[in-house]
Structures are given as structure tokens and as C-alpha cells.
């Protein structure tokens, strides 16, 4: 009985510092921030695809303008570490709108053209794939950190 107690005490004494795993917590936070940023990007892609036909009902009005997402690394004071964030969601002012001749449409201008959104489904698809790959990479980093954490905890069993 005392031997068992001594054994447990010795274990706690020698291996407790291994279980603090502060670096692993930081790693999991980083990966979680990456996952969040990539899902924000997916959301923007989904909005763009959903609005591929959203036009104005006012004659000559502006249709849906493609959204773009900006990533950056920002200092998060609550965890005292830099984190990846989708810092800004902006609109794409470079790509021109597509015009389609449709005089009967309520949104048609004086010449009978309706402006359609500047969403290109090929571009959106590529963006979606990229977000998916990055999401997977973050997920596997998270899984690795989790496995490492689990193994460290197993030492105390």
C-alpha cells in the first residue's frame, strides 16, 4: 500500500511537468484559429456561388458584387500569441460585371442590358478547393497535437 503510494508520488514528482503541455495547448489554439479562418473563407465562397444570379431590380442598378476575404496574423492579447484571422471581407472591384441582353427584365438599362454579378464559378471552385485543403492541413495538425497530448497523459495512467 505504502509502496503504491510512493510510486504514485514519484510519478507525479517526475512526470507532472511533462503533462503541463503549454506548447501543445498553443499549437491547438493556432490550428483552431486556422480552421476558423478557413471556414470564414468557405462561407464567403458559398455566398458568392449562391449569388451568382443575383441582379438588381432597379433599371441600371448594380448586381451582387463578389466578396473576397483577407487573411492576416493578429496578436490576440487574451492568449498572448499571434493568431490567424480572416481579418476583412471586402468586395471585388477589379473584375467587371457581365452584361446580358434582356430588355424584358425589370433591371434592364435603357439599352436593354442587365448587369450580372462578377462571380466566376471556376474561380470560386478553385478557391473552395484551396480552402478545403488548408482546412484539412489544419485539422491534421490539430489531430497530431491531440495525439501527443493523449500520449503525455497516458504516462500518468
Amino acid at each position: 500500500m505504502t509502496a503504491r503510494l510512493l510510486y504514485v508520488l514519484a510519478l507525479c514528482f517526475f512526470f507532472a511537468p511533462c503533462a503541463e503541455a503549454g506548447g501543445l495547448n498553443a499549437a491547438m489554439r493556432q490550428s483552431a484559429a486556422g480552421l476558423k479562418a478557413q471556414s470564414a473563407r468557405m462561407e464567403v465562397v458559398a455566398q458568392n456561388i449562391a449569388n451568382v444570379e443575383s441582379v438588381s431590380l432597379v433599371p441600371g442598378g448594380e448586381p451582387y458584387r463578389r466578396k473576397t476575404v483577407y487573411f492576416s496574423e493578429r496578436y490576440n492579447p487574451s492568449v498572448d500569441a499571434p493568431e490567424t484571422v480572416a481579418s476583412k471581407i471586402s468586395r471585388d472591384f477589379r473584375r467587371p460585371f457581365k452584361a446580358r441582353y434582356d430588355p424584358g427584365h425589370p433591371g434592364a438599362d435603357a439599352d436593354g442590358y442587365v448587369l450580372y454579378p462578377n462571380v466566376d464559378s471556376a474561380v470560386e471552385n478553385a478557391d473552395m478547393r484551396e480552402a478545403e485543403r488548408s482546412f484539412e492541413a489544419n485539422l491534421s495538425a490539430l489531430q497530431t497535437a491531440r495525439t501527443m497530448y493523449g500520449r503525455t497523459l497516458d504516462l500518468l495512467r
Binding site: A3, R4, L6, Y7, A10, L11, F14, F15, P17, C18, A21, G22, G23, L24, A26, A27, M28, Q30, S31, A33, G34, A37, Q38, R41, F71, S72, E73, P77, S78, V79, D80, A81, P82, E83, T84, E130, R133, S134, A137, N138, S140, A141, L142, T144, A145, T147, M148, R151, T152, D154, L155
Partner: protein
């Protein structure tokens, strides 16, 4: 019964020996393993940061300082804690125990200035996971030594 007592006595003798020799023993095995595991955890957080920032324009891949440096006590950041004189103050100290520096062999940068290669990072991550498994395995063996000394050998 007698056998058990004998076993226990031998165990206690071994245990006393381990305690007597502990400065040398713990400094070599446990301390090194502890440092190694801490270093691996820090390295994992550097890799996680690289992967999380794989799409951030202008981000440069970072690399953790090698373990040899950390083991000599040079690579570790000084554990500077912020003075907290009010409960509203932030009291967290240095986040990572491993020094990170820009990776010199990260490869060419993408047009947006980012040079993180996901392949390279996942390769590093797998290598790291194996090393961690090795370190935990060794730690378990060390624990088994103590267990044997206490007469609870498996």
C-alpha cells in the same frame, strides 16, 4: 509470504539506491526527457502556426530552434512574467518555450509572398509525432524502473 517480504526488501533497497543516486539519474534521464517533450510541444506550435498561416499574404515559414540548443538552455525564452497589480491585468507570460526563427530552406515564395509549403510542414509534423512517441515510450520505461524498484514489476 516470505518471498514477498524479501522481494519488497530488495525493492526498497533499490529504491534507496535510486534516491541516493538521484542527482545523477534524474539530471540525465528525466530532465532530458522533460526538456525533449517540452521542446516537441513548442515545435508543434510553430508548425501549427505555419499551417494556419499558409494562406496569409507575406507570411514567412518559421522553424523551431533545434533541440541541442534548447537542451543547453540557450534557445529557451526567458520566462518573463508581466507584473499584475490589479485583477484586470493580463498575467500570461511567454507563450512558447521554443525560439522560432525564419526557416532558411523553406523554398520559393508564392506570388503573394508566402513561402509555407504544406508538404514540408506535414512531413516535419509526422517526424515530430514519431519523436514524441519515442520520448513518451522512454518515459514509460523510466517509470517502469521505479515500479520495479518498488517491487511492482510487471
Amino acid at each position: 509470504m516470505r518471498n514477498g517480504v524479501k522481494k519488497r526488501a530488495v525493492g526498497m533497497a533499490l529504491w534507496c539506491f535510486a534516491i541516493g543516486a538521484s542527482p545523477a539519474f534524474s539530471a540525465t534521464i528525466e530532465e532530458t526527457l522533460r526538456q525533449k517533450m517540452r521542446h516537441l510541444a513548442g515545435t508543434q506550435s510553430v508548425i501549427a502556426r505555419n499551417i494556419a498561416n499558409a494562406d496569409v499574404p507575406g507570411y514567412k515559414a518559421m522553424k523551431a530552434a533545434p533541440f541541442a540548443e534548447a537542451a543547453q538552455g540557450r534557445g529557451r525564452l526567458a520566462p518573463v512574467a508581466l507584473a499584475a497589480t490589479s485583477p484586470l491585468h493580463i498575467t500570461r507570460g511567454a507563450a512558447s518555450s521554443v525560439r522560432a526563427e525564419p526557416d532558411p530552406d523553406a523554398g520559393p515564395a508564392k506570388p503573394n509572398g508566402n513561402n509555407v509549403s504544406l508538404e514540408r510542414q506535414s512531413l516535419e509534423m509526422n517526424r515530430l509525432a514519431l519523436q514524441h512517441q519515442e520520448a513518451t515510450g522512454l518515459s514509460r520505461k523510466v517509470a517502469d524502473l521505479y515500479r520495479a524498484a518498488l517491487g511492482e514489476a510487471r
